[in-house]
Amino acid sequence: MEQKDFIPIVQLCEHYRVEISFFNDLHDMGLINITTLEKTSCLHQEKIRDVEKMIRIHQELNINTEGIDAVFNLLQKIDVLQNELNMLHNRLRLYENDYK
Protein backbone atom coordinates (compact mmCIF):
# COMPACT_ATOMS: atom_id res chain seq x y z
CA MET A 1 0.00 0.00 0.00
CA GLU A 2 1.44 3.32 -1.02
CA GLN A 3 1.05 6.57 0.87
CA LYS A 4 -0.65 8.21 -2.11
CA ASP A 5 -3.52 5.75 -1.71
CA PHE A 6 -4.44 7.33 1.63
CA ILE A 7 -6.58 10.41 2.10
CA PRO A 8 -6.26 12.59 5.24
CA ILE A 9 -9.39 12.42 7.39
CA VAL A 10 -9.48 16.24 7.74
CA GLN A 11 -9.74 16.53 3.99
CA LEU A 12 -12.64 14.07 3.99
CA CYS A 13 -14.36 16.01 6.79
CA GLU A 14 -14.11 19.18 4.77
CA HIS A 15 -15.21 17.50 1.56
CA TYR A 16 -18.25 15.74 2.97
CA ARG A 17 -18.95 18.27 5.71
CA VAL A 18 -18.95 15.83 8.55
CA GLU A 19 -17.37 16.07 11.98
CA ILE A 20 -14.11 14.26 12.66
CA SER A 21 -15.90 12.48 15.52
CA PHE A 22 -18.05 10.75 12.89
CA PHE A 23 -14.97 9.09 11.39
CA ASN A 24 -13.62 8.27 14.85
CA ASP A 25 -16.91 6.61 15.76
CA LEU A 26 -16.86 4.57 12.54
CA HIS A 27 -13.31 3.53 13.36
CA ASP A 28 -14.30 2.55 16.93
CA MET A 29 -17.14 0.44 15.53
CA GLY A 30 -14.69 -1.33 13.24
CA LEU A 31 -16.47 -0.08 10.14
CA ILE A 32 -13.39 1.72 8.84
CA ASN A 33 -9.71 1.55 9.64
CA ILE A 34 -8.01 4.88 10.27
CA THR A 35 -4.27 4.72 9.66
CA THR A 36 -1.79 7.28 10.99
CA LEU A 37 0.80 8.36 8.43
CA GLU A 38 3.29 11.05 9.40
CA LYS A 39 1.10 12.04 12.36
CA THR A 40 -1.93 12.45 10.09
CA SER A 41 -5.02 10.28 10.39
CA CYS A 42 -5.82 8.84 6.98
CA LEU A 43 -8.22 6.51 5.28
CA HIS A 44 -7.39 4.18 2.43
CA GLN A 45 -9.07 5.29 -0.78
CA GLU A 46 -10.53 1.83 -1.33
CA LYS A 47 -12.82 2.49 1.61
CA ILE A 48 -14.20 5.74 0.15
CA ARG A 49 -17.11 4.03 -1.54
CA ASP A 50 -18.27 2.53 1.76
CA VAL A 51 -17.66 5.77 3.62
CA GLU A 52 -19.75 7.71 1.11
CA LYS A 53 -22.54 5.22 1.68
CA MET A 54 -22.22 5.63 5.46
CA ILE A 55 -22.32 9.42 5.13
CA ARG A 56 -25.43 9.24 2.95
CA ILE A 57 -27.15 6.94 5.41
CA HIS A 58 -26.14 9.26 8.26
CA GLN A 59 -27.11 12.53 6.61
CA GLU A 60 -30.13 11.55 4.58
CA LEU A 61 -31.74 9.09 6.94
CA ASN A 62 -30.61 10.60 10.23
CA ILE A 63 -29.11 7.29 11.32
CA ASN A 64 -26.37 7.36 13.94
CA THR A 65 -23.17 5.31 13.82
CA GLU A 66 -24.69 2.42 15.83
CA GLY A 67 -27.50 2.31 13.27
CA ILE A 68 -24.98 2.40 10.39
CA ASP A 69 -23.18 -0.53 11.99
CA ALA A 70 -26.46 -2.48 12.15
CA VAL A 71 -27.37 -1.51 8.56
CA PHE A 72 -23.98 -2.61 7.22
CA ASN A 73 -24.18 -5.92 9.07
CA LEU A 74 -27.62 -6.55 7.60
CA LEU A 75 -26.49 -5.51 4.12
CA GLN A 76 -23.61 -7.97 4.39
CA LYS A 77 -26.06 -10.69 5.39
CA ILE A 78 -28.28 -9.80 2.43
CA ASP A 79 -25.24 -10.06 0.17
CA VAL A 80 -24.36 -13.51 1.54
CA LEU A 81 -27.98 -14.65 1.21
CA GLN A 82 -28.18 -13.25 -2.32
CA ASN A 83 -25.07 -15.20 -3.31
CA GLU A 84 -26.48 -18.32 -1.69
CA LEU A 85 -29.76 -17.80 -3.52
CA ASN A 86 -27.89 -17.48 -6.82
CA MET A 87 -25.96 -20.65 -6.06
CA LEU A 88 -29.12 -22.57 -5.15
CA HIS A 89 -30.90 -21.20 -8.20
CA ASN A 90 -28.03 -22.46 -10.37
CA ARG A 91 -28.14 -25.83 -8.64
CA LEU A 92 -31.91 -26.04 -9.14
CA ARG A 93 -31.31 -25.73 -12.86
CA LEU A 94 -29.67 -29.15 -12.63
CA TYR A 95 -33.05 -30.72 -11.94
CA GLU A 96 -35.46 -28.36 -13.69
CA ASN A 97 -35.38 -29.99 -17.11
CA ASP A 98 -35.99 -33.46 -15.66
CA TYR A 99 -39.60 -32.58 -14.95
CA LYS A 100 -40.44 -30.83 -18.20
Binding site: R49, N90, R93, L94
Partner: protein, 295 residues
Protein backbone atom coordinates in the same frame (compact mmCIF):
# COMPACT_ATOMS: atom_id res chain seq x y z
CA UNK B 1 -46.89 14.08 -18.11
CA UNK B 2 -49.30 13.14 -15.39
CA UNK B 3 -50.25 14.99 -12.26
CA UNK B 4 -48.44 13.65 -9.21
CA UNK B 5 -50.18 13.80 -5.86
CA UNK B 6 -47.21 14.53 -3.62
CA UNK B 7 -49.35 14.18 -0.49
CA UNK B 8 -50.33 10.70 -1.54
CA UNK B 9 -46.70 9.86 -2.32
CA UNK B 10 -45.73 10.68 1.26
CA UNK B 11 -48.92 9.15 2.69
CA UNK B 12 -50.07 12.37 4.37
CA UNK B 13 -53.10 14.62 4.04
CA UNK B 14 -53.24 18.22 2.90
CA UNK B 15 -53.40 19.48 6.45
CA UNK B 16 -50.06 17.88 7.36
CA UNK B 17 -47.71 20.11 9.32
CA UNK B 18 -44.06 20.64 8.40
CA UNK B 19 -43.19 18.17 11.13
CA UNK B 20 -45.62 15.60 9.71
CA UNK B 21 -44.01 15.98 6.29
CA UNK B 22 -40.53 15.61 7.73
CA UNK B 23 -41.53 12.51 9.67
CA UNK B 24 -43.30 10.94 6.70
CA UNK B 25 -40.34 11.67 4.43
CA UNK B 26 -37.81 10.23 6.88
CA UNK B 27 -39.91 7.11 7.37
CA UNK B 28 -40.28 6.47 3.65
CA UNK B 29 -36.68 7.39 2.86
CA UNK B 30 -35.51 4.79 5.38
CA UNK B 31 -37.68 2.24 3.62
CA UNK B 32 -36.73 3.00 0.03
CA UNK B 33 -33.22 4.47 0.23
CA UNK B 34 -31.12 2.96 -2.61
CA UNK B 35 -28.25 2.19 -0.25
CA UNK B 36 -30.57 0.00 1.78
CA UNK B 37 -32.18 -1.59 -1.28
CA UNK B 38 -29.33 -2.53 -3.59
CA UNK B 39 -30.36 -3.51 -7.14
CA UNK B 40 -34.01 -2.79 -6.42
CA UNK B 41 -35.28 -0.67 -9.30
CA UNK B 42 -38.72 -0.27 -7.77
CA UNK B 43 -37.26 1.07 -4.51
CA UNK B 44 -35.06 3.45 -6.50
CA UNK B 45 -38.08 4.76 -8.41
CA UNK B 46 -40.04 5.17 -5.20
CA UNK B 47 -37.13 6.96 -3.52
CA UNK B 48 -36.92 9.48 -6.33
CA UNK B 49 -40.65 10.01 -6.06
CA UNK B 50 -40.59 10.68 -2.31
CA UNK B 51 -37.57 12.97 -2.70
CA UNK B 52 -39.45 14.98 -5.26
CA UNK B 53 -42.54 15.13 -3.04
CA UNK B 54 -40.41 16.24 -0.09
CA UNK B 55 -38.60 18.79 -2.22
CA UNK B 56 -41.94 20.45 -2.95
CA UNK B 57 -43.89 19.98 0.26
CA UNK B 58 -41.12 20.75 2.74
CA UNK B 59 -40.65 24.20 1.25
CA UNK B 60 -43.61 26.44 2.29
CA UNK B 61 -43.36 28.57 -0.85
CA UNK B 62 -43.37 25.59 -3.18
CA UNK B 63 -46.06 23.85 -1.22
CA UNK B 64 -48.28 26.90 -1.55
CA UNK B 65 -47.65 27.02 -5.28
CA UNK B 66 -48.30 23.31 -5.62
CA UNK B 67 -51.52 23.50 -3.62
CA UNK B 68 -52.71 26.36 -5.77
CA UNK B 69 -51.76 25.18 -9.25
CA UNK B 70 -50.89 21.53 -8.86
CA UNK B 71 -54.01 19.92 -10.27
CA UNK B 72 -54.30 22.42 -13.12
CA UNK B 73 -50.71 22.28 -14.19
CA UNK B 74 -51.70 21.79 -17.82
CA UNK B 75 -53.05 25.34 -18.07
CA UNK B 76 -50.07 27.31 -19.23
CA UNK B 77 -51.37 30.73 -18.19
CA UNK B 78 -51.72 29.71 -14.64
CA UNK B 79 -48.13 28.63 -14.66
CA UNK B 80 -46.74 31.83 -15.95
CA UNK B 81 -45.85 32.82 -12.46
CA UNK B 82 -44.23 29.53 -11.74
CA UNK B 83 -42.18 29.72 -14.92
CA UNK B 84 -40.83 33.11 -13.90
CA UNK B 85 -39.46 31.54 -10.79
CA UNK B 86 -37.27 29.03 -12.56
CA UNK B 87 -34.38 30.41 -10.60
CA UNK B 88 -35.71 28.40 -7.71
CA UNK B 89 -33.00 27.37 -5.31
CA UNK B 90 -35.00 24.95 -3.27
CA UNK B 91 -34.50 24.13 0.33
CA UNK B 92 -31.17 24.49 2.05
CA UNK B 93 -31.12 20.80 2.75
CA UNK B 94 -29.11 18.68 0.41
CA UNK B 95 -31.27 16.36 -1.61
CA UNK B 96 -30.96 12.71 -2.35
CA UNK B 97 -27.92 10.56 -2.18
CA UNK B 98 -25.84 12.69 -4.47
CA UNK B 99 -26.15 10.07 -7.14
CA UNK B 100 -29.10 11.68 -8.83
CA UNK B 101 -29.23 14.37 -11.42
CA UNK B 102 -31.95 16.49 -12.93
CA UNK B 103 -33.31 13.62 -14.95
CA UNK B 104 -34.44 12.10 -11.67
CA UNK B 105 -37.18 14.69 -11.42
CA UNK B 106 -40.48 14.07 -13.15
CA UNK B 107 -41.61 16.19 -16.07
CA UNK B 108 -44.37 17.36 -13.81
CA UNK B 109 -41.85 18.74 -11.30
CA UNK B 110 -39.77 20.36 -14.03
CA UNK B 111 -42.75 22.11 -15.57
CA UNK B 112 -43.82 23.52 -12.23
CA UNK B 113 -40.58 24.36 -10.58
CA UNK B 114 -37.99 24.39 -13.34
CA UNK B 115 -35.09 21.98 -13.76
CA UNK B 116 -33.82 19.82 -11.02
CA UNK B 117 -30.14 20.37 -11.35
CA UNK B 118 -28.18 19.25 -8.35
CA UNK B 119 -25.99 22.33 -8.71
CA UNK B 120 -28.92 24.68 -8.23
CA UNK B 121 -30.04 23.08 -5.03
CA UNK B 122 -27.16 21.60 -3.19
CA UNK B 123 -23.81 22.91 -2.21
CA UNK B 124 -21.02 22.55 -4.70
CA UNK B 125 -19.78 19.19 -3.47
CA UNK B 126 -18.05 16.66 -5.69
CA UNK B 127 -19.76 13.32 -5.98
CA UNK B 128 -18.77 10.09 -7.49
CA UNK B 129 -20.81 9.30 -10.58
CA UNK B 130 -23.70 6.90 -10.57
CA UNK B 131 -22.94 3.20 -10.86
CA UNK B 132 -24.44 1.57 -13.92
CA UNK B 133 -25.85 -1.92 -13.86
CA UNK B 134 -25.99 -4.03 -17.00
CA UNK B 135 -26.90 -7.62 -17.70
CA UNK B 136 -24.98 -9.71 -20.19
CA UNK B 137 -26.69 -12.78 -21.58
CA UNK B 138 -24.43 -15.61 -22.62
CA UNK B 139 -24.65 -19.28 -23.42
CA UNK B 140 -22.86 -21.81 -21.24
CA UNK B 141 -20.52 -22.74 -24.11
CA UNK B 142 -19.55 -19.04 -24.42
CA UNK B 143 -18.03 -19.00 -20.96
CA UNK B 144 -16.06 -22.21 -21.37
CA UNK B 145 -13.17 -20.16 -22.72
CA UNK B 146 -11.87 -16.70 -21.79
CA UNK B 147 -12.81 -14.35 -24.58
CA UNK B 148 -13.26 -10.69 -25.39
CA UNK B 149 -16.52 -8.98 -26.16
CA UNK B 150 -17.54 -5.45 -27.01
CA UNK B 151 -20.47 -4.11 -25.03
CA UNK B 152 -22.35 -0.92 -25.70
CA UNK B 153 -23.29 0.78 -22.46
CA UNK B 154 -24.98 4.18 -22.62
CA UNK B 155 -23.77 4.65 -26.18
CA UNK B 156 -20.15 3.81 -25.40
CA UNK B 157 -18.34 0.71 -26.55
CA UNK B 158 -16.45 -1.17 -23.87
CA UNK B 159 -14.06 -3.99 -24.76
CA UNK B 160 -14.39 -6.53 -22.02
CA UNK B 161 -12.53 -9.73 -21.22
CA UNK B 162 -14.92 -12.39 -20.02
CA UNK B 163 -13.01 -14.90 -17.92
CA UNK B 164 -13.76 -18.58 -18.46
CA UNK B 165 -15.84 -20.16 -15.73
CA UNK B 166 -17.92 -17.12 -14.87
CA UNK B 167 -21.14 -18.20 -13.16
CA UNK B 168 -24.78 -17.42 -13.73
CA UNK B 169 -25.78 -14.43 -11.60
CA UNK B 170 -22.17 -13.41 -10.96
CA UNK B 171 -21.49 -9.69 -11.03
CA UNK B 172 -18.19 -8.16 -12.08
CA UNK B 173 -17.22 -4.54 -11.54
CA UNK B 174 -15.57 -2.46 -14.26
CA UNK B 175 -14.06 0.51 -12.49
CA UNK B 176 -14.67 3.98 -13.88
CA UNK B 177 -17.16 2.97 -16.58
CA UNK B 178 -20.23 4.29 -14.76
CA UNK B 179 -21.82 7.73 -14.89
CA UNK B 180 -19.86 10.99 -14.95
CA UNK B 181 -18.95 12.39 -11.55
CA UNK B 182 -20.80 15.45 -10.31
CA UNK B 183 -18.78 18.67 -10.04
CA UNK B 184 -15.62 16.90 -11.20
CA UNK B 185 -16.02 13.86 -8.94
CA UNK B 186 -14.75 10.47 -10.12
CA UNK B 187 -16.78 8.34 -12.50
CA UNK B 188 -18.96 5.57 -11.10
CA UNK B 189 -18.44 1.90 -11.86
CA UNK B 190 -20.13 -0.46 -14.26
CA UNK B 191 -21.55 -3.63 -12.71
CA UNK B 192 -22.15 -6.41 -15.17
CA UNK B 193 -24.36 -9.29 -14.15
CA UNK B 194 -23.98 -12.48 -16.14
CA UNK B 195 -27.11 -14.29 -17.14
CA UNK B 196 -25.96 -17.62 -18.49
CA UNK B 197 -28.47 -19.80 -20.24
CA UNK B 198 -27.75 -23.41 -20.87
CA UNK B 199 -29.01 -25.17 -23.98
CA UNK B 200 -26.31 -27.80 -23.95
CA UNK B 201 -26.73 -31.43 -22.88
CA UNK B 202 -24.63 -30.71 -19.81
CA UNK B 203 -25.89 -29.47 -16.48
CA UNK B 204 -23.56 -27.36 -14.42
CA UNK B 205 -23.09 -27.17 -10.68
CA UNK B 206 -20.26 -24.80 -9.82
CA UNK B 207 -17.34 -26.20 -11.84
CA UNK B 208 -18.68 -29.71 -12.34
CA UNK B 209 -20.68 -30.84 -15.33
CA UNK B 210 -23.28 -33.59 -15.40
CA UNK B 211 -24.69 -35.46 -18.35
CA UNK B 212 -26.63 -38.64 -19.05
CA UNK B 213 -25.85 -40.85 -22.02
CA UNK B 214 -27.73 -43.75 -23.50
CA UNK B 215 -25.97 -47.10 -23.42
CA UNK B 216 -27.26 -50.06 -25.37
CA UNK B 217 -27.96 -53.26 -23.46
CA UNK B 218 -25.27 -55.31 -25.19
CA UNK B 219 -22.50 -52.79 -24.50
CA UNK B 220 -23.67 -52.58 -20.89
CA UNK B 221 -23.51 -56.35 -20.56
CA UNK B 222 -20.41 -57.12 -22.56
CA UNK B 223 -18.44 -53.87 -22.20
CA UNK B 224 -16.99 -51.73 -24.96
CA UNK B 225 -16.29 -48.13 -25.86
CA UNK B 226 -18.42 -45.00 -26.14
CA UNK B 227 -17.49 -41.62 -27.58
CA UNK B 228 -18.71 -38.59 -25.64
CA UNK B 229 -18.90 -34.98 -26.79
CA UNK B 230 -17.50 -32.50 -24.26
CA UNK B 231 -16.95 -28.73 -24.51
CA UNK B 232 -13.33 -29.64 -25.19
CA UNK B 233 -13.98 -32.12 -28.01
CA UNK B 234 -14.70 -35.85 -28.19
CA UNK B 235 -13.62 -38.25 -25.46
CA UNK B 236 -13.41 -42.01 -25.83
CA UNK B 237 -14.53 -43.90 -22.76
CA UNK B 238 -14.27 -47.58 -21.85
CA UNK B 239 -17.43 -49.22 -20.57
CA UNK B 240 -16.91 -52.04 -18.11
CA UNK B 241 -18.75 -55.34 -18.73
CA UNK B 242 -21.93 -55.76 -16.64
CA UNK B 243 -22.42 -52.03 -16.15
CA UNK B 244 -25.59 -51.37 -14.19
CA UNK B 245 -28.27 -48.87 -15.17
CA UNK B 246 -27.67 -45.34 -13.79
CA UNK B 247 -24.00 -46.07 -13.08
CA UNK B 248 -22.07 -42.81 -12.66
CA UNK B 249 -18.58 -42.32 -14.06
CA UNK B 250 -16.34 -39.39 -13.20
CA UNK B 251 -14.02 -37.90 -15.80
CA UNK B 252 -11.55 -35.89 -13.78
CA UNK B 253 -10.71 -32.45 -15.13
CA UNK B 254 -13.22 -32.67 -17.97
CA UNK B 255 -15.73 -30.34 -16.33
CA UNK B 256 -15.95 -26.57 -16.47
CA UNK B 257 -12.97 -24.22 -16.08
CA UNK B 258 -12.53 -22.80 -12.59
CA UNK B 259 -13.09 -19.02 -12.58
CA UNK B 260 -9.80 -17.13 -12.69
CA UNK B 261 -7.73 -20.27 -12.12
CA UNK B 262 -6.19 -20.98 -15.44
CA UNK B 263 -5.63 -24.65 -16.15
CA UNK B 264 -7.97 -25.80 -13.35
CA UNK B 265 -11.14 -27.63 -14.31
CA UNK B 266 -13.99 -29.28 -12.50
CA UNK B 267 -15.05 -32.86 -13.24
CA UNK B 268 -17.52 -34.33 -15.69
CA UNK B 269 -20.00 -36.87 -14.28
CA UNK B 270 -21.60 -39.23 -16.75
CA UNK B 271 -24.65 -41.30 -15.92
CA UNK B 272 -25.32 -44.33 -18.11
CA UNK B 273 -28.91 -44.91 -19.01
CA UNK B 274 -29.31 -48.39 -20.39
CA UNK B 275 -31.71 -48.67 -23.30
CA UNK B 276 -33.71 -51.88 -23.47
CA UNK B 277 -34.23 -53.04 -27.06
CA UNK B 278 -37.84 -52.91 -28.29
CA UNK B 279 -39.70 -54.43 -31.25
CA UNK B 280 -37.83 -57.72 -30.87
CA UNK B 281 -37.78 -60.08 -33.80
CA UNK B 282 -38.84 -63.71 -33.33
CA UNK B 283 -35.23 -64.79 -33.38
CA UNK B 284 -34.28 -62.23 -30.71
CA UNK B 285 -37.18 -63.32 -28.50
CA UNK B 286 -36.09 -66.90 -28.86
CA UNK B 287 -32.53 -66.08 -27.87
CA UNK B 288 -33.62 -64.00 -24.87
CA UNK B 289 -35.85 -66.87 -23.73
CA UNK B 290 -32.87 -69.18 -23.96
CA UNK B 291 -30.83 -66.73 -21.91
CA UNK B 292 -33.62 -66.54 -19.34
CA UNK B 293 -33.63 -70.31 -19.01
CA UNK B 294 -29.89 -70.23 -18.34
CA UNK B 295 -30.44 -67.87 -15.38
Amino acid sequence: MTYIDYYKVLGINKKATENDIKKAYRKMARKYHPDLNPDDKEAERKFKEINEANEVLSNPENRKKYDKYGKDWKHAEEFEKAQQQRQYHGSTRQRGSGQYSEEDFSDFFSSMFGGGSAKSRGRNVQFRGQDYNAELQLELKDVYRTHKRTLTVNGKNIRLTIPAGVRNGQVIKIKGHGGEGINGGPRGDLHIKFSISNHSKFKRDKDNLYTTIDLDLYKALLGGEVVIDTFDGKVKLKVKPETKNLTKVKLKGKGFPVYKKEGHFGDLYITYQIKIPTKLSDKEKELFEELAKLR
